[in-house]
């Protein structure tokens, strides 16, 4: 029997679930009282979506055979644009409900511009994306520093607005809205990858650029779109993360890079492009996002976090590699 895509996907996703349950069983054994209460899950649901949403978006970039290291900086800069404009507009007397809508649009546009720049550098100027986005990573972070002079921005002026509740409100008082956003986006990314022409083209371009070109797929457009959506979702993550704490730190996004990439790879997406799983990224984001809290809850100090990240990443990748090998 020639291996089918379903069999391959199933095998991969089952091993990811295996890793996931393995880790949570360890958490339970380590600290049954914490992990049998809702609080820790509440905390996971409110913090994981920020990097989780970006992990979904970068999964497409990686499937398309590209890389983006600049998304945390784009998140930071577009978040700064959002927060700064909110303050400027509210201080000049604009209605907060209207302000946050306009600022959200400005933030999205900033993110899309960031993504477009990356796309243009890769597609038009033909710089390999890994290198190009090192450049833009410094550029956007530098821009936050220069524009903000190291100062943060409060978001208290908009925390009574409707859109604020839509983004990071608590549904029924307990369920963070951003968790629903992440669920919703996971479904969207999943369906588009499997059932939409764009997803199909992302897979095909990442698999073999030459054959994609020969079969008439507009490779440049696909790559451009992939970088643009990355920029867009980085800006959305910027809004969610800053609204959650009603404050914009100029360093927002720093530290997200490797964790987000780790979520994608722990989730089983291939670094070579042409293959990937949104379900895997979703689980990967939960694994990576819950480790820190879990480790501390188990009574280890924060010093252990990185060590355990390392172990989990190496172990899970080894499991996939072994499981995916042809019998």
């Amino acid at each position: 029997m020639v291996r089918t895509a379903r069999a391959r996907q199933l095998r991969l996703e089952l091993s990811i679930l295996g890793v996931f349950f393995g880790i949570f069983i360890l958490f339970f054994i380590g600290d049954p009282s914490t992990f049998s209460r809702f609080d820790i899950y509440y905390s996971f649901m409110s913090t994981i979506p920020f990097s989780g949403i970006m992990a979904l978006a970068i999964t497409y970039v990686i499937i398309a055979g590209e890389m983006d290291l600049s998304f945390p900086s784009i998140m930071g800069f577009s978040g700064w644009v959002f927060a700064k404009l909110c303050n400027v507009f509210v201080n000049s007397g604009m209605n907060p409900d209207l302000t946050i809508i306009i600022c959200t649009l400005c933030c999205f546009i900033t993110g899309i511009i960031g993504g477009t720049l990356n796309g243009a550098l890769v597609v038009k100027v033909r710089i390999p994306s890994l290198v190009a986005t090192i450049g833009t990573m410094f550029f956007w972070r530098g821009l936050v520093n220069v524009c903000g002079q190291g100062f943060g921005e409060t978001l208290v002026p908009v925390n009574e607005t409707f859109l604020f509740k839509v983004f990071v409100g608590r549904i029924g008082g307990v369920l963070p809205a951003q968790a629903l956003w992440m669920l919703f986006l996971t479904a969207g990314f999943w369906i588009v990858l499997k059932r939409h022409r764009f997803g199909s083209h992302v897979l095909i371009v990442g698999d073999n650029v030459e054959s994609a070109r020969m079969m008439g797929i507009r490779v440049s457009r696909v790559k451009m779109a992939v970088f643009m959506q990355m920029g867009f979702f980085a800006s959305l993550a910027g809004i969610l993360a800053s609204l959650e704490v009603t404050y914009l730190w100029p360093s927002m996004g720093e530290g997200y890079l490797l964790r987000t990439l780790a979520a994608v790879f722990v989730g089983g997406t291939s670094v070579f492009g042409g293959m990937g799983t949104i379900f895997g990224t979703f689980i990967g984001a939960i694994i990576i996002g819950s480790l820190e809290g879990g480790i501390v809850a188990m009574g280890l100090t924060g010093f252990w976090t990185q060590l355990i990240y390392g172990v989990i990443i190496v172990v899970s990748l080894s499991i996939y590699s072994v499981f995916m090998r042809r019998e």
Binding site: V2, R3, T4, R197, S211, M215
Partner: protein, 255 residues
């Protein structure tokens, strides 16, 4: 070409040089409707250059190309595909990690609203292409199979099947059996024979006369940029053809 019918493609007095090297020196070449032409010749004879003029990769320096009785210029690969000329390169036009149904429809997806794929329809159609059009019998292969795990001959079959399905009138096969085992080569030859059954034409380029002879209707021998011979299958036996080729390689003439 078949007598009495106008050819599908005719290339008249084609010249092409790269720098000071004349690769094609006034070549006349035709492919008839529903005809498989074996284009044979040594390395460097100009076979690849000749077909790259048909697929729009190169432009001729001189001469005329007619397709379905119309004078044409093929300025790009897209243009050649529009005309109904499709090239099958070994493993180069397939997306290895993807399923068959994605590969058959890559770049030409069947779309529902908002750009979503009609996956069921693509699967069904792929199944039909596999079983009915290409005659795949192996139960091991399904529309959901990943191309990477198919054999070399099967991959060639998929590429040929795809070209036929999208109504290519002329399929160009550039060394389609290169690097394949005997059994796999046999499969590919069957797929090529299928092109004729479906009423289409093909150019089969190969060094190996033993593969070309059984499936082609006519043989064109290219030697250092000129046509050295043109035989219908009824005019020449396989052994004679081989003998002529050997003589050509050794003495530079076929007589």
């Amino acid at each position: 070409m078949s007598e009495g019918l106008s050819p599908l493609v005719s290339m008249i007095d084609i010249q092409k040089s790269f720098g000071h090297v004349d690769v094609l020196k006034g070549v006349n070449f035709e492919v008839g409707g529903n005809e498989i032409v074996g284009l044979v010749g040594d390395n460097g004879a100009g076979k690849s250059t000749l077909i790259k003029l048909l697929t729009g990769v190169y432009q001729p320096d001189g001469g005329e190309i007619y397709f379905k009785n119309e004078r044409i210029t093929i300025h790009s690969v897209d243009r050649s595909r529009e005309l109904g000329i499709e090239t099958v390169y070994q493993e180069r036009a397939l997306s290895e990690q993807q399923t068959l149904w994605r590969n058959i429809f890559m770049g030409r997806e069947k779309l529902a609203r908002l750009g979503f794929l009609k996956v069921d329809e693509q699967r069904k159609e792929t199944e039909r292409i596999l079983r009915e059009e290409m005659g795949f019998t192996s139960k091991a292969i399904s529309t959901d199979s990943i191309v990477k795990y198919l054999s070399g001959g099967e991959k060639q079959g998929i590429a040929i099947g795809r070209a036929l399905h999208f109504n290519a009138d002329l399929i160009i096969l550039d060394e389609p059996t290169m690097g394949l085992s005997l059994a796999e080569t046999k499969k590919v030859l069957d797929f090529i024979a299928n092109i004729r059954t479906r009423g289409k034409s093909a150019i089969f380029i190969s060094h190996n006369i033993y593969y070309v002879y059984p499936v082609a209707d006519r043989f064109v021998i290219l030697d250092r940029g000129s046509i050295a011979g043109n035989f219908r299958k009824s005019e020449i036996s396989q052994d004679d053809l081989v003998e002529k080729m050997v003589k050509l390689a050794q003495t530079g003439t076929m007589e």
